[in-house]
Amino acid sequence: MTAAAVRPSLGPGAALLYVCLLVGLPVAALADRAATSHFWSSVTAPQARAALELTVEMAVLTAVVNAVAGVLIAWVLVRDRFPGRSIVNALIDLPFALPTIVAGLVLLSLYGPNSPIGVNVAQTRAAVLLALLFVTLPFVVRAVQPVLLALDRESEEAAACLGARPWQTFRLVIWPTIRPATFVGAGLAFARALGEFGSIVLISGNLPFHTQVASVFISGRVESGDVPGAAAVSVVLLAVALVTLAILDLVVRRSRRRD
């Protein structure tokens, strides 16, 4: 067989085998461990339920706050001119590059015990939210920025000429254009926030029913040897994330079709 004949079949086959072994098999094993008769009792146990509910609540809050802040930051970075803009623009990606445990340490150094400004949020829900806002900061900014860059200013100027106030121009001209990107960015932030662990583990204090999110709960279950219980909550968490991403995929396709 010549190389040309080998390549077409070998490449995709090897790729398929690699993802199946690396990703597919462990995920199947996880689902298998979760599928015990105790699945529902594990998921609906008070502590597990509280952790899952807190996780979803915090993720929603994170997505909303960073949607607003992200649109604002993207707008300022695209339309405003000030010294240091390109450095600020580059630093937006820092939360993606920074190891999550370091992100937690970063927040603890300013908002933890011995805070130099006297603000200590450690072991509160505010700390969980702060950590989630930090790690998901880039999503909305980076989703909205290219859309704002591509937006032609003529329709804004036309709106202004016709007497629209800046707020009306934003609401009626700009917002409809950036809405899908904002939604996608916020959705990605939500999905990321659902599973976040490293940045939360130190600052949240891991208090059941108060600051314990699902990922920290799962880690605790593994440590105490309850793999099926951990797997059950993991499967629920994964399902919520997958549904979110499926919805986002639909939104992207729809907005593309409209273009």
């Binding site: 995709p12 790729a15 820092l94 599973g195 993991s234």
Partner: protein, 264 residues
Amino acid sequence: MTSRLLLRAGALGYLAVLLLVPVGMVGYRTFAHGVGPVLDALSTPAATHALYLSVIVTAIAVPIDVVFGVVAGLALARRRMPLGRVVNLLVNLPFAMSPVVIGLALFALYGRGGWLGDRLIAHGITVLFSVPGLVLATAFVALPFVVREVVPVLDELGTAQEQAAATLGAGPWTTFWRITLPSIRWALTYGVVLSTARALGEFGAVSIVSGDIVGRTQTLPLLVEERFRNFDSTGAYSAGFALAVISLIVVAAMTLLSRRKEHV
């Protein structure tokens, strides 16, 4: 004009409170007692071993993912694979999974009572709590980056140049090395930078599969947590600062590379 300044103040204020001041604060905390204690903390046997282990695990996991990323990228972009959707789903799955869940999935497969775990343990092969487990967790977590960067570029590139090369008598390898690889080089480099950053900094998945044995399976991010929990804040901040410096270099590289990507 005032509304413009107000917006600017709002955006920069949010960034300062959430990102810039806290990151600066870590630098301050790290060097609060001078450079000496930091160097001491970073040169303890546990710290040097953690750094060494992080580098080794990254150096094994990332190249495997890169080779896979290019092969899978070519397969996904160039031909309608019968199982293309399955591959696509599995490649992107790590983004949807909590790092802890990734660790647990490996735990479920390779641990005691797992499909492979019991058989491997019977043959004296331990995956969990040793380097192979760390490599698997890291390769899992860093899987999507290269594929995601390479596929859009390959889509846009089309196959005209490759076909021209083939017509002129170039074999598949020559075509790949001379045409395909040079065309995707910046996207590929960008993907490698992102995977490396993620691999070096991975915490959740690794913390589940490593067992966190000091001097054996403790990577640098795990060292940060362990030092912090043991009230050794100089140790935690020193290791954290070292990782943060790596991240800043990564961000600088990303900025430069994304400019290059746009110019291709």
